[in-house]
Symmetry: C2
Subunit: 425 residues, 2 copies
């Protein structure tokens, strides 16, 4: 296959005819496959069925500190769960909150709190003439959804394989006091699968923001979600911030949504003690505390850090072949067409595909018409607007290998068809 | 015993000497009993141990609509749980959200949402020159805590045995567009145990507020928490608001915190479909949805409305004797002293005690020094300020009958001692 851009009009027209026939054949199959979100497969859910037995009516529900976990009390998570996540993130338990079932809710609430009350005594963001967030792209649509909901202006920041453009970020935060935050998925980023380099993390920790209440929203959603044994190491931002004299500059978020059961898992955050104490003061007004029984259920099932990592290996064994199928099918499907590039992540939940500029929306539409629902084109950019209309997020975990193979074939045909349509004008 | 106010100085001095001796004897026992909050006893918690077995690894976790409750999805509660609460509150399931574990969090979030975004298109409350809430007193300290946290000015409203002073409320909301809400515990109120009369509920439903976004925060925390079989009926505010042409004026909140396990239960809200739809739009940004497995656990344990009411009878059997002990001990302890009155509730979690004016703080302090921790005096009023320094909230459910008897004796002695101290000047 020749690169499309080197083809004559005639060759392109002929290619289009063949692609259209191929596409129509897929369409005739009347498939129905939803790959819009990064959700665990049935096989992954089966890994956690033991969670449902780990607490039962014979279980002693007295915590290590003597509290009855069936009753009221404990605002910031049971000590057992706080210890697990303190071990994982190399912090002390007073730097940890283990909350409800959704880290998204914790992030939303941090922003909501900053808007209405400010952070550590700062002016409430809602009282300022404007508030801006930096948004490394492509990024996570639900992050952008939160900042958009609160009327926070979003500024896209380019990324390369080492992370976001730190020159741009350093300059922006140093000069604009209305830049109050940045969304980061620092490990196996959503969707590009990038892990920030040590240098990037150090430069983050050493930022000199004009705004004292500038915060890095460090969504460590995929911190242990490796696909391979060669674990990619992410430098400890909390430690680096401490060393740099910026201990309060980062909020780290995590959850077990993709470790045990999404929705029935644990979510939490880690930060400086000062930040965590401030959040607890709000929680006293806001909450009766998390579901301690479900936290105990998790601790009895996962046991400790080793148990947690063991569980992640089982997940990796199930989803690794799916990522391999994606890479293989895209490699074969796009051949030498030269119209697409994609990530080969070492972990996380996504593959980031860049198709011919101006063709992402059309590709997603063609896929949908052939029965494959992908994440909306543009979703990986603030306001849903991909300036190049090129990025498509592939979420390979949920379908079976067979379904995924079929879906990726449809995707490559659709992307090629869209590219040829564009080149033919 | 003569009424204290009719006693001579000499008789009072003699009484004080005797009370002091009695008090000192209790103090010497070095008791330690915390009655600060309304929390279920161990015996009540035992009623729900079956909840821990109702879902296990052999359970089919497929919902009635085919969804896998182990995975992502469903924002507003599983259909089974929505139906239970729709049945209980006589509404349709699209008027119900079953959320996380805390109705307090739902209330906090409604206020937070109104402050930042307004309600159904109204001006965000935070953008107004002032925002006020009416607060029937004595009331629930955690309600007052939320409004205080958001800088909302609180206006106390007197209550009698039929509910709050509706003449005052009708006039206030009709004339002041900055009055945006009122906190109500309409059934077995916290702490007075009052159930609003039909007339009060109808007058609420027929309010003509100057503020279009005025809302009644109807915390139905004790809707089925009867102590006796003669169930006190509360008129259906949602139905009455609909009839009065004010369908969006009320948010009702509920939870199973005092039905199954506090913290590991379900919380929810009921309102007009328009209000619920608006909240769901926020939840799309804010949440990955509630813990569906815990909702299923509850449905398998409680089964249906009959099962729910059966569970409440078992609770009543455990706590009724405690309320009887409180009444008996207070009756005996205060005798004809004439310095105290208290409620005799038909349900709920509290007894409201009014001691001699100016003596509540001192009484609570004396109790604490004798090892009995009560809710802070003043807590039942906005800003913790009881203008008469008279009201004390008694939470009888947690201690055993024996502990409670001892605590109530200490309370009566302390209240009498405080009264005599005051009368002696």
């Amino acid at each position: 296959m020749t690169a499309f851009k080197n083809m004559s009009k005639e060759a392109l027209a002929e290619t289009k005819k063949n692609l259209q026939a191929e596409y129509d054949a897929y369409k005739a199959k009347n498939l129905s496959l939803n790959m819009a979100r990064g959700i665990p497969s049935k096989a992954q859910l089966e890994l956690s069925m033991g969670l449902l037995d780990s607490v039962n009516s014979s279980t002693d529900l007295t915590g290590i500190n003597g509290a009855d976990y069936r009753n009221y009390g404990i605002l910031d998570g049971i000590p057992e769960a706080k210890k697990l996540f303190a071990d994982l993130f190399n912090v002390t338990t007073d730097q940890i909150i283990v909350g409800g079932n959704s880290s998204l809710t914790l992030m939303f609430d941090t922003i909501s709190s900053a808007m209405a009350h400010g952070l550590l005594g700062s002016t409430p963001w809602a009282s300022l003439p404007e508030v801006k967030f930096l948004c490394p792209v492509p990024g996570y649509d639900r992050h952008f959804g939160i900042t958009e909901y609160f009327g926070i202006q979003m500024i896209p920041v380019e990324m390369d394989e080492n992370g976001p453009d730190m020159d741009f970020i350093e300059n922006a935060v140093a000069n604009d006091p209305y830049i109050k935050g940045i969304w980061c998925v620092p490990k196996y980023s959503n969707p590009a699968g990038i892990t920030y380099s040590d240098e990037v993390v150090r430069r983050f920790a050493n930022l000199k923001p004009a705004a004292k209440d500038f915060r890095i929203f460090w969504d460590n959603a995929y911190c242990i979600h490796h696909l391979f044994n060669d674990d990619v190491q992410l430098l400890d931002i909390l430690e680096e911030c401490r060393k740099a004299g910026n201990p309060n500059m980062v909020y780290m978020y995590f959850s077990t949504s993709k470790i045990t059961f999404p929705g029935a898992g644990l979510a939490g955050m880690a930060s400086s003690k000062e930040n965590i104490d401030a959040i607890k003061k709000r929680m006293i007004v806001q909450s009766i505390g998390p579901d301690k029984i479900n936290q105990l259920r998790h601790m009895k099932f996962l046991k400790n850090l080793d148990g947690l990592l063991e569980q992640m290996k089982k997940h990796a064994d199930i989803i690794r072949p799916k990522f391999e199928v994606v890479d293989k099918t895209l490699t074969e499907g796009f051949g030498d067409s030269g119209i697409a590039t994609w990530s080969k992540p070492n972990g996380g939940y996504f593959v980031s595909l860049n198709v011919e500029e101006g063709c992402a929306k059309r590709t997603v539409q063609l896929c949908k018409e052939a029965g494959v629902t992908l994440t909306n084109a543009g979703a990986t950019y603030p306001y849903g607007k991909d300036p190049k209309d090129s990025n498509i997020r592939i979420a390979p975990t949920s379908p079976t290998v067979e379904e995924l193979t079929e879906a990726m074939k449809i995707l490559t045909v659709s992307a090629k068809l869209a590219a040829v349509e564009k080149l033919l004008g």
